[in-house]
Assembly symmetry: C2
Homo-oligomer: 350 residues x 2
């Protein structure tokens, strides 16, 4: 197997060169819509989101119903922005963090379109775009909606402690973003296109601390990004941005170290949705997390930067920590997975 430049690590032997698939027909992201909670709305990019909720309950009787409503809102919003109507959307591909992904499945009930439920934890936005692009690229469908959501209050009480306990949070923990995002992927229309997708392998470096998910996910991000460079014969210089979601501050530092071990310096090119969502004054410790974090960042500020021609080509790598409360209680370590897609500006726009 060919060695990567500066190949300083035998980990590269893992890359067999078959994790990336290329699309022939340039499936396009013709619109994106983002909705966030009030805390996220006060973050550095708060003004970029399409909708900022006044409160986390979104006028519903439970946080779970609020999360579902956010997701429905994002899906409808993206469809509306695309200039299409719901009956023109062939499929909804969606995932979230709740047990049995009820936010997605119940949101799907509101729409008259086929539905694929996905679970890749916080990697779900990239997973939905990768599969959605595959279906559109092959000509099976014309328009698909790719969406994910997360909600601080539904995630906290499911994975950690009820909010009422007021538990202190350890310094490496991240803050589940209350956010949802949806992209419409289409075979016609205008917008940046998805050039290829790199699917991730499950990586586990033995992290057992469910309050340090950045560390649990960084190896998966490293593996997918290295596999992507290997498969596509590219390197960091070929991208305007390498955007992970959501490693947070600590996980991002770990990723930089792991990439260096593999001969890549991504420090000038890398940003992370978890770091972008909040600023340090917001008491979120290592930054944001949750499927909705990368979904809302991607479908707001990132797509806008394509419109303003700030970006020509980016690598978006969403990372997921594949734990459950049961696996944690049984003493298991936390596996991670990361899926990546390359988004490019259409050449005719130059």
């Amino acid at each position: 197997m060919a060695k990567i430049k500066n190949g300083s690590s035998n980990k590269m032997d893992k890359f067999k060169g078959n994790q990336t698939i290329f699309f022939k027909n340039k499936p396009k992201i013709i619109s994106g819509y983002s909705i966030v909670g009030p805390k996220e709305g006060r973050g550095p990019f708060g003004k970029e989101f399409d909708y900022v909720m006044k409160n986390d309950r979104f006028e519903e009787k439970s946080f779970e119903i609020a999360e579902r409503k956010m997701l429905e809102h994002a899906i409808l919003g993206a469809i509306e922005k695309s200039g299409l109507v719901p009956k023109q959307i062939d499929m909804l591909l969606s995932g979230d963090l709740l047990n049995q992904i009820i936010s997605s499945s119940y949101a799907a009930r509101a729409f008259d379109m086929t539905y694929l439920g996905l679970f890749g934890a916080c990697s779900s936005m990239a997973e939905s775009l990768a599969i959605g692009a595959t279906l559109v690229d092959a000509g099976h469908f014309k328009n698909v909606a790719c969406a994910t959501s997360s909600h601080f209050s539904t995630a906290e009480r499911q994975f950690r402690f009820p909010l009422e306990l007021g538990s202190q949070r350890p310094p490496t923990s991240q803050w589940t973003a209350t956010a949802a995002g949806c992209s419409i992927v289409s075979n016609t229309g205008k917008g940046p296109y998805i050039e290829c997708a790199t699917f991730g392998k499950v990586m586990d470096y033995g992290i057992t601390d469910a309050n340090n998910m950045g560390a649990a996910m960084a190896p998966a991000a490293m593996n997918t990004i290295c596999a992507h460079f290997y498969d596509t014969k590219t390197s960091p210089k070929d991208y305007d941005l390498i955007l992970t979601g959501d490693l947070g501050i600590f996980g991002s530092e770990m990723l930089h170290e792991l990439m260096k071990e593999n001969g890549y310096d991504i420090s000038g090119k890398h940003d992370d949705c978890g770091k972008m969502m909040f600023d340090r004054t917001q008491d979120v410790l290592m930054g944001g997390s949750g499927c909705g974090c990368s979904a809302s960042i991607l479908n707001s500020i990132i797509l806008k930067r394509f419109e303003t021609k700030q970006y020509k080509k980016i690598l978006f790598v969403a990372t997921g920590a594949l734990l459950s409360t049961t696996s944690t209680q049984q003493g298991e370590s936390i596996p991670g997975v990361a899926h990546g897609i390359v988004i490019c500006r259409e050449e005719e726009e130059d």
Copy 2:
């Protein structure tokens, strides 16, 4: 919109004719492997499974680890039967019933292949085959593993009550099968091929009884089967078998009624994996359920009947109930979804 023959119901207006995708390159199921628990091994088709566990714990310290081990066993078994080795498998597509699909994600950790996590509850086996076939058909991957699992003891304590309580089960309830199955889908080799896939929409007729999932899923099965007939211009007579998984006895009766309302009599063609898994003497009430039920039936007796040329063409429709304990506790009704694939014998085998 064209009317279906005997179109006796306005429900047919829901079929827009774009739920089915057709494969051009005949992605083949080149092998299948099934593993079941001891109770399932005593069922009518017990002798057909590749492996019957001596006990539900599979020599592990928890039922959750046993389920994961079953799934790993099924994946390795299917790869071995296909004549391939694990490094030739490009992707694992897997789902299960546990929160955050830990059986699938932790099983994926054991393999050096990319991983897509799916959640469609008991529809997951058809979902994984449909997406796996899409990826193989488009030439993106050569060989993929499509797998699901379920385990009576992990599902009971997660969704209902700990076994130790000895709770009585209502008459409409089904018995989550302790079972896993895996198919290898490939662009070369011998085996029946997947002709097309029909993706389902989420249907909800307002059933709120989590012990009557057959009734919750039957409308989704009806919708997908009718959409399939509409899209493919076929009817029950074109199939040797219409196999649902897992409606059980009551859900199957309801499906027959719903199909009749839409002008189709499937009574002579239909069977259900939940009905096939157990016989009435095994105290399972309405029959089996769980992702592993349809996965193990499909990957044993059904594939064997293709080998013996008993079948030329079947429609396999796996059905999922998209509830969680939270949605039930919040008084929500139970949405269902069903995805279908058509499996055909290769013509050259005639």
